[in-house]
């Protein structure tokens, strides 16, 4: 009898546990955020944060057939202001009937003003929030970041997805931008002797979609913002970013237009298909020399010259051009980096890794030494094949 009673007591004790978790969030009570934009604006005569989030409208994200069924955009853009970022985050709930949930957020767009003044605050806010994943992509915008959270997506179901795909798929095809996630960004920010280039998300106005309609905002990637220590110090153009990626060993595929003949217009295009880089930093007395060994492989993407190209000599000539072009691009970016006095190629970091003693002496004055660092580039470039055809059908 006694054992039966105790068994009953145990069963009764189990019941409260069956009701589920204490801190549960039911999915129908969540407003799932896809992307976030952080701006700083003037409000009531003082500077405040403007936080914008794109919440996915449930029921509309199912797919093309029902998408926009009720004529509403798939995203709901909510904005809120606050004195701190968390204040602004809480204020978003002033407008949302559901708990705003950041666990599925894919990217954060940070405006230029924030990147110049308040970057550490943003990094702290994002990394401290345990809902936010370390995988979220960090982007910079030159305009307002809130404009990047447009209400529709072009090809994928959601903008968040579009941005993620651009980072993982198309980024490597053009090599004109490189998107880092939160963990990588923090790592580069706190590594001495390495200044990250954070991808720029542009929000230009397109031509009107419908005749008579107004222009709409579109998303486009390209270039990046150079962040030195904790401040944005300048921007790289598309081309400069490609040079940076080549010099940093991050470039994958790219189109390199070159001139074979003496004329202003490029007449040939070499496709970069893969590249790698070895970097050594030598110190002799006070002189620092960076030695880059870049290995590039590519094929012929476009050719309209007169001379034969599908021969051993022709390919050799192309390879020379290829080599020169790669070196030129890297040098341009290096010059730009020296102008900004930022170590985007991570020379200091490499010195630290390989020669900690020398680095210890130079660490304090590294940014005084950096503009005088000499760069030696050695490129080994190979054109392996000429794609589907050999000579041009109609040589000019």
């Amino acid at each position: 009898m006694k054992s039966k009673l105790s068994l009953l007591a145990v069963l009764l004790l189990v019941f409260p546990l069956l009701a589920g978790c204490w801190s549960r969030y039911e999915i129908e009570n969540l407003a799932i955020v896809g992307g976030m934009g952080i701006d700083r604006i003037q409000e009531d005569g003082k500077e405040r944060y403007l936080l914008t989030v794109n919440v996915i409208r449930p029921g509309l994200s199912g797919g093309g057939t029902e998408g926009g069924g009720r004529g509403k955009p798939i995203y709901w853009r909510i904005t809120a202001t606050g004195d701190t970022l968390v204040d602004a985050e809480k204020n978003i709930n002033l407008r949302s009937p559901r708990r705003v949930f950041y666990g599925h957020m894919r990217f954060v767009a940070i405006s230029e003003k924030i990147a110049r003044e308040k970057l550490p605050d943003v990094i702290d806010y994002l990394s401290r929030n345990s809902e936010v994943r370390l995988r979220i992509l960090i982007l910079l915008t030159r305009e307002r970041a809130t404009d990047a959270l447009i209400n529709y997506s072009e090809l994928e179901n959601t903008i968040a997805r579009e941005v993620t795909e651009m980072a993982s798929i198309t980024g490597g095809i053009v090599s004109k931008f490189k998107i880092w996630d939160l963990a990588q960004t923090i790592d580069q920010l706190i590594t001495p002797g390495l200044d990250p280039v954070i991808a720029e998300l542009m929000t230009p106005l397109s031509v009107p979609v419908e005749p008579g309609g107004g222009p709409i905002r579109i998303l486009r990637f390209g270039g990046g913002g150079v962040v030195k220590k904790d401040k944005l110090v300048g921007w790289l153009t598309d081309g400069e970013t490609r040079g940076y990626l080549l010099g940093a060993g991050e470039a994958q595929e790219a189109a390199l237009p070159v001139r074979l003949k003496n004329q202003p217009e490029p007449d040939t295009n070499i496709n970069l298909t893969r590249s790698s880089r070895q970097l050594t930093v030598d110190v002799e007395g006070n002189k620092v020399t960076a030695k880059m060994l870049i290995h590039a492989e590519g094929d012929l993407g476009e050719y309209n010259g007169k001379e034969e190209v599908a021969t051993n000599e022709g390919v050799f000539k192309l390879e020379t051009k290829f080599r020169e072009e790669v070196e030129k691009e890297v040098r341009q970016s290096f010059k730009k980096a020296q102008e900004l006095n930022a170590d985007i190629f991570g020379l200091g970091n490499r010195l630290h890794e390989r020669n900690p003693k020398a680095w210890k002496k130079m660490e304090k004055d590294w940014y005084k030494i950096l503009p005088n660092v000499k760069l030696e580039i050695k490129v080994t470039a190979h054109i392996r094949r000429t794609r589907a055809i050999s000579e041009a059908f109609i040589p000019k």
């Binding site: 801190s23 963990a183 790592d187 706190i190 630290h352």
Partner: protein
């Protein structure tokens, strides 16, 4: 001599129990503390220095245990130190083990609150954990050992799963420069983890339950080496993926699991960390809890240890809540007082006992009955 525990465990069960006594909490808390202090050399510390320390502790404890074969620390402490001092040592160890176990219970709740369920009161987790542990303690060492065999496989599966999936993200440049700053940061970073590895001193209380005494020493060494390998890999992977950034995470391995993304669809696998944590810590707490009740029963010459299980559980539950105000106080405790604290009861006390036993010629082959 009345035996409080009739159960016997095998050599391999003993070894896995030693592993679980250290591993679950060490995996989560050690990397941040070590990387903060030792920088890029943290993994060398974890792989070699702490493991060496674990071997030292095991050697001393095993030598002491072998001198008094088949008896538990409290059975022979009176013989070594004299009766009053022996009892005092018992009281000391009741305090130490209960206190440390309260810390472990607190760690358990802190992690669940920080990482998964921030709104639940910590008391809920701590009490449920202690209830579970109390049940296993009442059932004796055999049950704990067998349960542990299952849990260990779960823990190792979770760890191997996480480490292999994150391997693609590892950037071994983060380990450079090797030996930055020389040996000093390594030693500095070693102090806290050494206390953790020294937790194997609990074998002093468990040696008598081994079915074959000859298996004790090799099993304990194997456990320490295995721990060194796992915790070394742990720190190495965290460092290779995150670099120095890892020092600022509260639970770097949890961050590691959240960072896993294989082909864009195998993501959010941090539930594996939960499996490791909940199952592993339950056993860890059960082992400490068991030792605490055993020492209590032996000190007060009780015929059965079961009556003290519940009172000790209540003490631990309350202690685990009131012991720290916040998580930083806890981590601070690990970085400072814990070092001397653990060094004292894991190393200084057993060594002193051994020395006195040797000088007074107590124990050893001659005194075997």
């Amino acid at each position: 001599m009345n035996m409080l525990e009739k159960g016997k465990i095998s050599g391999s069960q003993f070894m896995w129990m030693m592993v679980t006594t250290v591993l679950p909490t060490a995996v989560l808390f050690i990397p941040a503390i070590t990387i903060k202090n030792a920088g890029t050399s943290a993994w060398i510390e974890s792989l070699i220095v702490s493991t060496g320390w674990g071997l030292v502790v095991v050697t001393i404890c095993c030598t002491l245990g072998e001198r008094f074969q088949g008896r538990s620390l409290l059975n022979y402490s009176g013989e070594i130190l004299g009766k009053p001092l022996g009892k005092l040592l018992g009281l000391f160890y009741i305090f130490i083990i209960t206190y440390t176990n309260a810390i472990i219970v607190r760690e358990f709740g802190e992690f669940l609150l920080s990482a998964f369920m921030p709104e639940t009161p910590i008391l809920v987790f701590n009490v449920i954990l202690l209830l579970l542990a109390a049940t296993s303690v009442r059932n004796g060492i055999e049950v704990i050992a067998r349960m542990n065999q299952f849990v260990v496989s779960l823990m190792f599966f979770a760890l191997i799963f996480i480490f292999s999936l994150i391997f693609g993200e590892a950037n071994f440049h983060h380990l450079l420069p090797l030996f930055e700053g020389g040996i000093k940061p390594i030693i500095h970073g070693a102090l806290t983890p050494m206390g953790w590895r020294g937790e194997v001193f609990l074998l002093l209380f468990m040696l008598p339950f081994l079915s074959n005494h000859r298996e004790a020493r090799p099993a304990a060494y194997k456990a320490v080496l295995l721990l060194g390998l796992v915790l070394g890999t742990d720190v190495l992977m965290v460092l290779a993926v995150f670099g120095k950034e890892a020092a600022n995470f509260v639970f770097p391995v949890h961050s590691l699991a959240t960072y896993i993304s294989v082909a864009g669809f195998l993501e959010r696998v941090e539930a594996f960390i939960l499996a490791l944590w909940v199952a592993g810590v339950t056993i860890k707490v059960a082992v400490w809890y068991y030792c605490a009740t055993l020492v209590t029963a032996q000190t007060f010459n009780l015929k059965d240890y079961k009556p003290v299980v519940l009172p000790l559980g209540i003490i631990q539950a309350v202690w685990s809540i009131t012991i720290y105000d916040n998580i930083r106080e806890m981590v601070d405790f690990f970085e400072k007082p814990w070092i001397t604290f653990s060094l004292f009861f894991e190393f200084v006390v057993p060594t002193t006992l051994l020395l006195i036993a040797v000088i007074r010629k107590k124990g050893g082959r001659g005194s075997e009955k």
